[in-house]
């Protein structure tokens, strides 16, 4: 526990507090105060905590990242933005933790649907926000959640009413431009009964050291369907601490695609609570090069019977990169007939790369079908020879197999424009001599 840094942040808090949204709401003021106390008492997580044993966050303690109070000095190059913005989506842009109306495209939304910045939502629908904020992300879980609750400056708020199916995805484009900046954002996505929505979170930044703390809470109503994509392409000097906390109602379906490519140190937590016969699919792809440290933590809570969960995380690690996967599946005593599969596959391209993988099954019910599998290895020499015997030279065969391994996850993306952007990023991260996109 290192509370010295925590007290430095706490000392700075009064300078920003008045600029935070929702300060006139007593419940939020109280929630933030409580979170600030919790964070100050605990500090950032330490590797002595079981859930953080592979990820040392002390790097962020060398600096005091500064939050922005508004959009001042947050100019974004329009051409640069193009490579991340989806053309066929409603786009809400946050720059340095603040909503930019100028860069966002939200027109044409069905009237009954709310897609707005969190600051707007706190001004216009405070009661609804009160009901959901903190309802999925428990701030006693770890101190980054408390940190996020105390500091968040803005975020995305989505509410899709019952039976409404959104025909276009919603993109949250989260940009950090400042050096030593801190962007702390909180998002809420609510899909009422039988509603359907697709949301994409894209995290990017200019090539600077900065800190992103982003917590997304998702509420999938009865028989509703939500797909959440997370494209984490932070700058290679950045720190990213993100969490997606999902509550699924009865028969609700939730699919998550987690692409973790950026950041010097990046950690994402994905926790889903499943109700009766709900379905949860968690997909992940992490690519590490140079000295990147990429950590993904998932937890699936089977609380009621008949729920199904499927999880596949794949990692490709080169140079001195380190990938961490901790996946927990918890099957409660009442969750009979649970059907759960968890897999983590790692490909190490260099002798210095490292993968730490820890799948955990905790089963308290007695009539369930649960499985898990883990692999850490190099490219299969038999596959390389097979391709060579089909005229492909060895280097191309190696590159092809690496891309093919990663591409299985990219192929799961159902939104064409996003698929192409993610594929571009995958291709940019590894040697592609001789690799033809057509082959993938």
């Amino acid at each position: 526990m290192n509370t010295a840094t925590a007290s430095r942040y706490a000392a700075e808090y009064p300078t920003i507090a008045s600029a935070l949204p929702g300060q006139t709401l007593p419940w939020l003021k109280a929630l933030r105060a409580e979170a600030l106390i919790a964070f100050s008492a605990h500090g950032f997580p330490s590797p002595r905590e079981e859930e953080w044993r592979y990820t040392n966050v002390s790097g962020i303690e060398k600096k005091l990242f500064a939050p922005s109070v508004d959009l001042t000095g947050s100019d974004v190059d329009a051409d640069w933005l193009k490579s991340y913005r989806l053309e066929d989506a409603w786009v809400l842009v946050l720059v340095n933790g603040h909503f930019s109306a100028e860069l966002s495209v939200l027109d044409g939304l069905p009237e009954a649907v709310s897609v707005m910045s969190m600051a707007d939502a706190l001004a216009k629908q405070p009661d609804k926000v009160e009901k959901y904020l903190g309802a999925a992300a428990d701030q006693s879980e770890h101190s980054f959640i408390a940190f996020n609750t105390a500091w968040f400056t803005d975020g995305l708020f989505v509410h899709v009413p019952a039976k409404l199916v959104l025909d276009k995805p919603i993109q949250l484009l989260h940009i950090v431009t400042g050096s030593d900046a801190m962007a702390t954002t909180r998002n809420i996505i609510i899909a009422d009964e039988m509603a359907e929505a697709k949301v994409i979170e894209t995290y990017v930044g200019i090539d600077n050291a900065y800190l992103t703390s982003a917590v997304t809470e998702v509420f999938v109503g009865q028989n509703a369907d939500v797909t959440l994509y997370k494209m984490q392409s932070e700058s290679d000097k950045a720190y990213h601490f993100g969490g997606s906390y999902i509550k699924q109602a009865r028969d609700a379906r939730f699919t998550h695609h987690n692409f973790a490519f950026g950041g010097l140190l990046a950690r994402s937590d994905i926790h889903a609570d499943l109700d009766h016969a709900s379905e949860c699919e968690l997909n992940g792809l992490y690519l590490g090069v140079k000295r990147q440290h990429i950590d993904n933590h998932t937890r699936i809570n089977h609380l009621k019977p008949y729920a199904i969960s499927r999880e596949l995380y794949k990692g490709v690690l080169d140079d001195r990169a380190r990938g961490v996967f901790q996946g927990r599946v918890i099957v409660a005593i009442d969750a009979q007939k649970t059907d759960s599969q968890m897999n983590n596959r790692n490909l190490l391209l260099s002798d210095d790369a490292e993968a730490d993988t820890k799948p955990q099954l905790e089963i308290y019910a007695d009539d369930v079908k649960c499985g898990h599998g883990v692999t850490v290895g190099q490219l299969d020499e038999k596959s390389i020879f097979y391709l060579q015997s089909r005229c492909v030279d060895e280097e191309t065969a190696r590159n092809m197999l690496t891309f093919a391994f990663a591409n299985e996850m990219v192929d799961k993306i159902k939104i064409r424009s996003l698929h192409d952007k993610v594929l571009e990023q995958v291709l940019a991260r590894f040697p592609q001599e001789g690799v033809n996109k057509e082959w993938l």
Partner: protein, 251 residues
Amino acid sequence: MLSIKNLHVSVGDKPILKGINLEIKAGEIHAIMGPNGSGKSTLSHVLSGKGGYTVTEGSATYQGKDLLEMAPEIRAREGLFLAFQYPVEIPGVSNIYLLKAALNSIRKHNGQPEVDAMDFLTLVKEKVRLLEMDEKFLYRAVNEGFSGGEKKRNEILQMAILEPKLCIMDETDSGLDIDALKIVSEGVNSLRSPERSFVMVTHYQRLLDYIKPDFVHVLANGQIVKSGGPELALELEEKGYSWVENNQAAA
């Protein structure tokens, strides 16, 4: 086409092939039979360039060139094709793209332009029909989730499209039911030509009922102990491998 002279091959310190001599001329079909552990698979692996084997003595000359000096992909581009005993699954790489890439690299190697996309599709679909395969296999990942028989058919499909000069078939009949065996054999027979040679490595005589060899060689303990015409296969079937092994021991 292929001339193997006194070929000795070891895996680690263990000698597997102990002086193989074999002459294969254009248009000929040679069957290499032998009991398990006789070195049959080692021979097909060494000829196609798989790693892990050390040639300690002898040579293999393919179309006047030193075969053993070439990388596996160069051998393939020069027209040597290995039909695998256990075709490998390549998730994430689609069957049709691998076919196209392979065909184009052969054409490039021979100084020809890339194949026209439409012509290619017509060619592939024709061969798929010939092998009674479902077209959907083309768009699936290479061998992924294929049954044993489908994998073997897929090997013959690749062979039919790449039109190699020398086909080495490693235990192509193992794991095939009789219907699949007939289809595979018809596929192979349709490829027979005066310019194309086949080496069929097999444990069972059954395959040779459908693909008539010109020569049969019996491999035992790393050496060819007996050569003859197709009748040798029948004799072997009748008397069993112990017959040649005993002969060898007596000699």
